[in-house]
C-alpha cells in the first residue's frame, strides 16, 4: 500500500527527514514512535502533500503511484487520509456542510455521483453515534469551540466517512483523557480491514494499548532506527528513547 524509500525532506531549507524507509502492506497497522523533533509531523505532512515540505530525494509510492506528483486534494480523492494533530477551525462553516462538501469533492474527483444532503446526513449520523458525536456538534461551525477530545473524535468521524485505503493518524492521542482515548481507539479499530493500511504516529505508548499495531518503528533524527513488533512500544515506554536507539542524551 505504502512504500517509502530513502526519503529526504527539507522544511525552510533545513533537512528534517534524512533517508527514511518504511513499507506498510494493506491490512496492517504500523506505528511510528519518536521523541519530539524526530520528524514525526514532517512525515505526516509530507505524506499529505502540504506546501513547504520539499522532497529533495527518495520516493513515496502509494498503490504503486508516486505521491509527490499529486496535489493534497487529489491524494484525498485517491483514498489517502490524514487525521491532524491540530484540527483547524473554520468559522461559519457548519461541520455537516464541511463533511458533505469534502465527501462530494472526493467522489466527484473519482468520477462518482455526488451524494445528496439527506443521504449524507443519514451516513454521518450512523457513524457519529459510535463516536458519541452529537447532532449539536454537527451543526456547530467546524471545530470552533470544540474541546480537544471533540476535535479528535471529529477527525475519526471523517476517516469513517471517507473510508480511506491509507490512513495516517498524527498524534491523535495528544490531549485526550482516557475515555476519549478509548472512544477514538475503538473508532480506529473498527476501521481495520484487510484492504486498508494505517499508520499511527505517536509519542507515547499509551495509545498502542488500545490500537495494537502490527509493527512498531522508532523514528529518530529523520530516520527509522529500529523496528519490531508491538512489544517494542512497551520496551520504549520502560527504557526511554535513548536506551533503545543507543543515542546519547
Amino acid at each position: 500500500m505504502l512504500e517509502i524509500r530513502d526519503l529526504h525532506v527539507t522544511v525552510d531549507g533545513k533537512e528534517i527527514l534524512k533517508g527514511l524507509n518504511l513499507s506498510i502492506p494493506a491490512g496492517e497497522v504500523h506505528a511510528v514512535m519518536g521523541p519530539n523533533g524526530s520528524g514525526k509531523s514532517t512525515l505526516s505532512y509530507t505524506l499529505a502533500g502540504r506546501e513547504g515540505y520539499d522532497i529533495t530525494s527518495g520516493s513515496i509510492l502509494y498503490k504503486g503511484e508516486e505521491l509527490a506528483a499529486l496535489t493534497p486534494d487529489a491524494r484525498a480523492a485517491k483514498g489517502f487520509f490524514l487525521a491532524l494533530q491540530y484540527p483547524v477551525e473554520i468559522p461559519g462553516v457548519s461541520t455537516m456542510v464541511f463533511l458533505k462538501t469534502a465527501l462530494n469533492a472526493q467522489r466527484r474527483a473519482r468520477g462518482e455521483d455526488e451524494v445528496d444532503a439527506v443521504k449524507v446526513l443519514r451516513l454521518v449520523r450512523e457513524k457519529a453515534k459510535a463516536l458519541n458525536i452529537t447532532e449539536d456538534m454537527l451543526r456547530r461551525p467546524l471545530n470552533v469551540g470544540f474541546s480537544g477530545g471533540e476535535k479528535k473524535r471529529l477527525e475519526i468521524l471523517q476517516m469513517a466517512l471517507f473510508e480511506p485505503s491509507l490512513a495516517v493518524l498524527d498524534e491523535t492521542d495528544s490531549g485526550l483523557d482516557i475515555d476519549a482515548l478509548r472512544l477514538v481507539a475503538e473508532g480506529v479499530n473498527a476501521m481495520r480491514s484487510p484492504a486498508r493500511a494505517m499508520l499511527v504516529i505517536t509519542h507515547y505508548q499509551r495509545l498502542l494499548d488500545y490500537i495494537v499495531p502490527t509493527r512498531v518503528h522508532v523514528l529518530r533524527a529523520g530516520q527509522i532506527v529500529t523496528s519490531g513488533g508491538p512489544e517494542l512500544a512497551k520496551e520504549l515506554e520502560k527504557k526511554g528513547y535513548e536506551t533503545i536507539t543507543g543515542a546519547a542524551a
Binding site: 491540530y86 483547524v88 461559519g92 455537516m96 444532503a117
Partner: protein, 484 residues
C-alpha cells in the same frame, strides 16, 4: 429564514468566470449621445410623461450642471465624459408594450433565460413576481393580477408616473431629494425606468418582489429609479439582481432607490449585484454610483438592507436608513467582494432621529488580488433620539498580499443616553485552513469559496432562500483563482 447550508460546486457554474458576458443582438431605440436639456426632454417625451415630471427632471438637470463629482471615496478612475454616453436605450420591438409574455421578443426572453431568471411557468411555482428592466424599458411584469387583488401596486416607475401620479408626486424625491448628490441628481434628470411598489395599509405583500436590472446596449448608462412605499402596518420584501455584459469600455450606472416605511411598516430590500467587474488587468467594468436610502418615517417601522456586492469595477454605494419614527429599526447587512483591480467603497448611514431607535450594521468585506475594499459608515444620533442604540460589526478578510481593506467609521452622537458600539476585525485565510480543506479532498477554489461563505454566513442568512443560494455561488465564482 434562508437556508444557507448548501454549498454548490463552483466549477459547474461557469465555463468562464463571467457567464453573463453575452450581448443580445436587438435593434435599439436610443437617444443621441450627450447630455443636454434636449436629452432630458427626449427621455421625458419617450415616456409620455406629464408636464410636472418633465419640470422635476429639468430642475434636477439645472442643479446638476452646478454640481461637482464627489472625490472623497477611496476609488480612482479616469474622468467620466458625460457627453460621450447615451442616456436612453430601449429595445425597438418594445415600441408597443407587450400585453403578456407571448408578446415579448423571444430574444429578450432568451437573454433572461441565460441569466437564469425564471420568467415563465416556473415563476408561478416559485411565487416570485419579476419586473424585468431591460436597459431602459420594463419588458414584462408578471403576477400583476395576484398583486392587484392584494392591492399592491408593482409596476415600472414610468407607468406609475402616468397611472398613480398622486403617489409618485407625494413620495418621489422625498428621501433622496433632487439636490442630494452629484450622481443622484444626474439620475433625477435622466432616469429612464425602474420599479415602483406601493403596499397599502395592513397588507403583507403575498410574494417576494423581484427586479432584474441589466445593461445590454454598449455606451449607455443605466439610471434606474426605484420607489417603494410601505403604508402603515404593511410588509414587503424586495429583491434586486444585477448583471451586465462584458465590455472593454467602462459603463456608468447611477441608480437611486428610495424606500418609505410608514407607522409599523417593514421593508426588506435585498441586492445581489454582479455587474461586470472588468478583466484581470482592470480593463472595462461598470462604474456603480448608487444612492439608496430608506426613511423609517413612521413609528415602529423597520427597514432592512441586505447587499451582496461582487461585481462592478467601482462601487460607490451607501444604503442608508433615516430612523425618523420613534422605535424604528434600521439594519444593514453587507458582503462586498473585490478581486483583481476592483475598488469598492461601500457602507451605510444610520441617522437616528426618533426616540429608542435601533440600528444594526454587519459588514463583511473580502479583498483579493489587487483590490481595494473600504467600509465607510456613519452612525449619527440626534439630541432628540433618546435611548438610541447602534451596534456595528465590520469584518475584513484578506486573500493574498496585494490587496487592501480599509474601515472608515464615523460616529456622531449628540445624545447622552445613546449607545453606539463598533467592533472591527481583519483576518486572512490561513494556510492551515486551506491545507485542512485540501487534505480532505476539497480543491483550492472550492476551499476558498467555503471559507469565505463561512465568513459571510451572518449576512447570507438574511437573504431570501433563492437568493442565498445564488449569492453563495457568486461568492465562489468571484474569487476563483485568487489563491495560489
Amino acid at each position: 429564514m434562508a437556508n444557507t447550508e448548501t454549498t454548490e460546486r463552483v466549477s459547474d457554474l461557469s465555463g468562464e468566470k463571467y457567464k453573463y458576458g453575452f450581448v443580445t443582438d436587438i435593434e435599439m431605440d436610443r437617444a443621441p449621445k450627450g447630455l443636454s436639456e434636449d436629452t432630458v426632454r427626449f427621455i421625458s417625451a419617450k415616456k409620455t410623461e406629464p408636464e410636472w415630471m418633465l419640470e422635476w427632471r429639468l430642475e434636477a438637470y439645472q442643479r446638476w450642471l452646478e454640481m461637482r463629482e464627489p472625490k472623497w471615496a477611496r476609488v480612482h478612475y479616469p474622468p467620466i465624459d458625460y457627453q460621450n454616453s447615451s442616456y436612453y436605450a430601449a429595445p425597438k420591438s418594445q415600441g408597443e408594450r407587450p400585453k403578456n409574455l407571448e408578446d415579448i421578443d423571444p430574444k429578450l426572453l432568451e437573454t433572461y433565460k441565460k441569466l437564469g431568471i425564471p420568467l415563465s411557468e416556473q415563476m408561478m411555482l416559485a411565487g416570485v413576481a419579476v419586473d424585468a428592466v431591460f436597459d431602459s424599458v420594463s419588458v414584462a411584469t408578471t403576477f400583476k393580477q395576484k398583486l392587484t387583488e392584494a392591492g399592491v401596486i408593482f409596476c415600472p416607475i414610468s407607468e406609475a408616473i402616468r397611472e398613480h401620479p398622486e403617489l409618485v408626486r407625494k413620495y418621489l424625491g422625498s428621501v433622496v431629494p433632487t439636490t442630494d448628490n452629484f450622481f443622484a441628481t444626474l439620475n433625477s434628470a435622466v432616469f429612464s425606468d425602474g420599479s415602483f411598489v406601493y403596499v397599502p395599509k395592513g397588507v403583507r405583500c403575498p410574494m417576494e418582489l423581484s427586479t432584474y436590472f441589466r445593461i445590454n446596449a454598449s455606451e449607455t448608462g443605466q439610471f434606474e429609479r426605484t420607489l417603494i412605499i410601505a403604508d402603515e402596518d404593511s410588509y414587503v420584501s424586495y429583491l434586486e439582481g444585477c448583471t451586465a455584459p462584458k465590455r472593454d469600455e467602462n459603463q456608468l450606472h447611477a441608480a437611486v432607490v428610495e424606500l418609505i416605511a410608514l407607522d409599523g411598516a417593514e421593508i426588506k430590500y435585498s441586492t445581489v449585484q454582479n455587474w461586470y467587474p472588468g478583466d484581470e488587468e482592470g480593463k472595462g467594468g461598470i462604474f456603480n454610483f448608487v444612492t439608496k436610502r430608506g426613511d423609517c418615517r413612521g413609528k415602529n417601522s423597520k427597514i432592512s438592507w441586505t447587499q451582496v456586492e461582487t461585481g462592478s469595477a467601482i462601487t460607490w454605494k451607501y444604503p442608508s436608513c433615516i430612523l425618523r419614527g420613534d422605535n424604528s429599526v434600521g439594519e444593514f447587512y453587507s458582503i462586498a467582494i473585490a478581486n483583481n483591480y476592483q475598488q469598492a467603497d461601500t457602507g451605510t448611514k444610520m441617522i437616528h432621529l426618533g426616540r429608542n431607535t435601533r440600528s444594526r450594521i454587519v459588514s463583511k468585506g473580502i479583498s483579493a488580488g489587487h483590490a481595494e475594499n473600504t467600509y465607510r459608515g456613519l452612525v449619527s444620533v440626534h439630541p432628540r433620539a433618546e435611548g438610541a442604540r447602534n451596534h456595528t460589526q465590520c469584518d475584513s478578510l484578506l486573500i493574498g498580499g496585494e490587496c487592501g481593506a480599509h474601515t472608515v467609521p464615523y460616529i456622531e452622537s449628540r445624545c447622552p443616553s445613546a449607545s453606539v458600539e463598533h467592533e472591527a476585525t481583519t483576518s486572512k485565510i490561513s494556510d492551515e485552513q486551506l491545507f485542512y480543506c485540501l487534505s480532505r479532498g476539497i480543491p483550492q477554489d472550492e476551499a476558498v469559496s467555503l471559507i469565505v461563505n463561512g465568513f459571510c454566513r451572518e449576512v447570507l442568512q438574511q437573504l431570501p432562500m433563492e437568493f442565498a443560494v445564488e449569492a453563495q455561488k457568486l461568492v465562489g465564482i468571484s474569487l476563483e483563482g485568487s489563491v495560489g
